[in-house]
């Protein structure tokens, strides 16, 4: 996928663990892992909103576009 999720970098910056984040936003650890490992096909606005709220960041901090052309 050309859209990369940079969740791991933001989590590291905030000094938070994936388990802690999953508890805070109410999303299973399995789903967060799918997101973190770039296996997700789509992300809900509600998930993005919860991530931005808990990690105090913007959607652009979590996603990046990489042109593979």
């Amino acid at each position: 996928m050309t859209i990369q999720v940079t969740l791991d970098r933001v989590i590291e910056k905030r000094g938070m663990t994936l388990t802690e984040l999953s508890e805070r936003i109410g999303i299973t650890l399995a789903n967060l892992s799918i997101l973190k490992t770039n296996k997700a096909r789509a992300i809900r606005f509600s998930t993005l909103e919860a991530l931005c709220r808990e990690l105090d960041c913007q959607p652009g901090d979590l996603l990046s576009y990489q042109d593979r052309g």
Binding site: I27, N31, L32, I34, L35, K39, A40, R41, A42, I43, R44, T47
Partner: protein, 213 residues
Amino acid sequence: MQTYRADRVVRILTGLVSFVYFGAWVVAAFVLIVAPLLKLLAPNVVHDPSFRLEVPVTLPRLGATVVSQWDAAPAGITLTAVTGDIGLPMRLVPWSFVVLWTALVTFFALVLLFLHNLRVLFRRVREGAPFDATNATRMRRLGVLLLALSVFSGVFEFWMSAWVTRALASSNVPIGSALHINWFGVLIALVLVGLAEVFRRGAALEEEQSLVV
């Protein structure tokens, strides 16, 4: 997390299909192995196994109108076709046993494969995971097997009835031969193949949905 519990109807149907599947294995083992063995070991005790064949019968008054309690003046009901069963001993001619036994093996193989696939499909539905790619393939297989079963039975019985008609041509038995394809079975087979494609699309959607976070 709440565990999935299947609907009662699904559970009953799954049990019923399993029962029919194992019952079919028992019948197949008896017809294909036990009965011929018994005949071989005790030829005077066990009757010769026979093959039941449905054939059209020609009656002298075929086409005549029939008087009924609803229609005193014969005008409405007409006798157009009559069919009957003929029991063919499996040891009729030297090769007939091999041909009939092979036909029965093919028939039971198709039926057992059909029931096996149906049973696995019901079990997957009972477990709450009907939409996967293997179930779509399984459903298509059910359609193809049903189609093969309908065509095989029709063609084989036609071939057998043609052979019997020729063999009995010099006798006064008024039977003929006709090709009877189970069109209802063919229709159901086509519906199953069509549903398999719906299943395949459902499986793809479910897979995609599982990757939406």
